[in-house]
Amino acid sequence: MNEQIHADKELASLAQREYKEGFVTDIDADTLPPGLDEDVIRTISRKKEEPEFLLEWRLDAYRRWLDMEEPGWPHLHYPKIDFQQISYFSAPKQKKLLDSLDEVDPKLLETYEKLGIPLDEQKALAGVKVAVDAVFDSVSVVTTFKETLAEAGVIFCPLSEAVKEHPDLVQKYLGSVVPAGDNYYAALNSAVFSEGSFVYVPKGVRCPMELSTYFRINAMNTGQFERTLIVADEDSYVSYLEGCTAPMRDENQLHAAVVELVAMKGAEIKYSTVQNWYPGDEEGKGGIYNFVTKRGICKGGGSKISWTQVETGSAITWKYPSVVLEGDNSIGEFYSVALTGNYQQADTGTKMVHIGKNATSTIISKGISAGHGQNSYRGLVKVLKGADNARNYSQCDSLLMGDKCGAHTFPYMEVKNPSAVVEHEATTSKISEDQLFYCRQRGLSEEDAVSMIVNGFCKEVFKELPMEFAVEAQKLLGISLEGAVG
């Protein structure tokens, strides 16, 4: 038998894994009926008791969205989404203002406990300190360590709270990086966004702990449209992580988020994502449609924004975390691992836009395709006229398992300044029967061997994650690879 065919067969069942986050929480929810019009937007805004400027901003976004068309250029195939079949708001019923964890519905606490998310500050004290904002469908359930952070002057709260408590900051920065009419999904998000996190780190402050938001979609037929805004003032530092899961459902669910990062002079933002939305079953039924716009701006000189993402979930992923390098000597980084198994499709990559002088950008993308998975890297490196001495290094590696999956690379470069140095390297490799046999001859099981090879392939990205999350990501990849070989 042909060696590779044999390896392919063994690896074919790669992504037929258990999705252990696939449970549903049975909880009373206040859910809007499906459908989208201006009344729905007014209702969302009213429910969240928003100021007038925000309602106007939403309505403006909605009107723009009506005139826009769903992008057809990604290397993705899915039936047309009926936006009138989706509910745009769902909140678990609870008392209005929560002063402590004791008042949170025990069912919600149980949900997060099952997911391994530490919401109890006392318990968290023993381990690594991470402040968590837990978002359940359209609302934030609880945010931990708020007091500790406040002592350092750091604001970390749900966006809806920030709108009320810090309206000036929100009005100043919301939409400043991703404008309401930026693209189809960003416009939709701007119209209906219901929750997300807000972070402000004042001048010269190094945020004393990791910040993290955990997104959970629970309700049926409901989309999640969160919006995150992080502002790092001059010479400050913050590291932020988002995680996400959803129940296993036969219907596809829409998740269209927007994340905006602003780094002022000398500031650094490290943004890490471990994305584990329900990917659908082995026949490609169900799963999350993940259409996300993430963009950061290095506004001041010497600022730095670094995106690290580990994407193992979603039926469809469409996202390009980008950095606009406006400040001189600014740094933009993108590290990505995207795994597509079963019938998952990912079209993901980044945009690095060089505006300031002496700015550098680094792109490291690792795509793993298995089963019938389709994995596309799409990246743009743009160097504007005034961006003297721009430096970019891009490396896109693809790892294939089996012969029914695909890996595609779409690098774009637009260079308008002759002093720029832009490098692009790409490789495609396959886990071979020879490699597996070699490892097995050394006593390793086939599964351990696959996992070792895949982890080796992703090493450059994992080392960019905060320590505890790197371990998490490796585990997640391990679970995703379970049953990979038979």
Binding site: F437, C439, I453, N455, F457
Partner: protein, 251 residues
């Protein structure tokens, strides 16, 4: 330790091993020699359990078990080690990481305690020095960017680290200069002991100057056509494979 009886195997329908019988006792070193295409490497790979070789007949018993019934990783854990003719490159996986994972898997299987990072590093550095491997190779990706000699040295390093009861060396001498050959042979010799056995597969007599075998078997067309002591290797060197094949036909 190892009893092969009338072993037959084929690749893609073509019969390569035509009924091989061989008995290897603990403490013995056996050399299997033969011209290209005689089935030497096939024998080594069949013993290790490579899938693409189909066993069509015969039995192999290893330490009292039916070897052919065991998965390759179980054979390895039971103490069968194959030094590959063409060691495989595994990009991104550091050598030291794989060695540790493998050694601890073996130790677990033997009911021994797994080694922590510190004691493992001490051990692996000691073994690396023994086979003349520079420490930097421990931290590189498995076999990636290694020269032919360095790859073979890495195989011997693994062998001395895992301390297998039966080592099968598949043309470990091919592509080695004389200095590398000596170092490899020293590594092998240091592992000789009354409770271990070795099967040294080679095309040339050269390696057997340094690893002196107890028995030599000559393979042709998938069968052992002659067995003898170490002097048989010298005879082959002088008279070539043609002589012995002719001898076998007339006999």
């Amino acid at each position: 330790m190892l009893t092969i009886e009338n072993l037959r195997a084929s690749v893609e329908g073509k019969e390569i091993l035509n009924g091989i019988s061989l008995e290897v006792q603990a403490g013995e070193v056996h050399a299997v020699m033969g011209p290209n295409g005689s089935g030497k490497s096939t024998l080594a790979n069949v013993l290790a359990g490579r899938d693409e070789y189909e066993v069509t007949g015969g039995t192999v018993r290893f330490k009292g078990q039916d070897l052919l019934d065991l998965e390759p990783e179980i054979r390895a854990r039971e103490g069968l080690f194959l030094a590959f003719q063409y060691p495989v490159e595994i990009p991104g996986v550091s050598n030291v990481h794989m060695l540790k994972a493998a050694l601890n898997t073996l130790r677990k299987h033997r009911g021994e305690e797994e080694l922590d990072a510190v004691s493992f590093l001490r051990l692996v550095k000691e073994k690396a020095a023994l086979v003349g491997m520079k420490q930097e190779f421990l931290y590189r990706s498995v076999n990636q960017g290694f020269s032919g000699g360095e790859k073979k040295r890495n195989e011997i390093l693994q062998m001395s680290l895992f301390e297998p009861s039966l080592s099968v060396l598949d043309e470990t001498d091919s592509g080695l200069d004389i200095d590398a050959l000596k170092i490899v042979a020293e590594g092998v010799n240091s592992l000789r002991s009354p409770d271990r056995a070795m099967l040294v597969v080679t095309h040339y007599q050269r390696l057997l100057e340094y690893i002196v075998p107890d028995y030599v078997h000559v393979l042709a067309h998938g069968r052992i056509i002659r067995s003898g002591g170490k002097e048989l290797a010298h005879e082959l060197e002088d008279r070539g494979y043609g002589w012995i094949e002719q001898h076998a036909r007339t006999a």
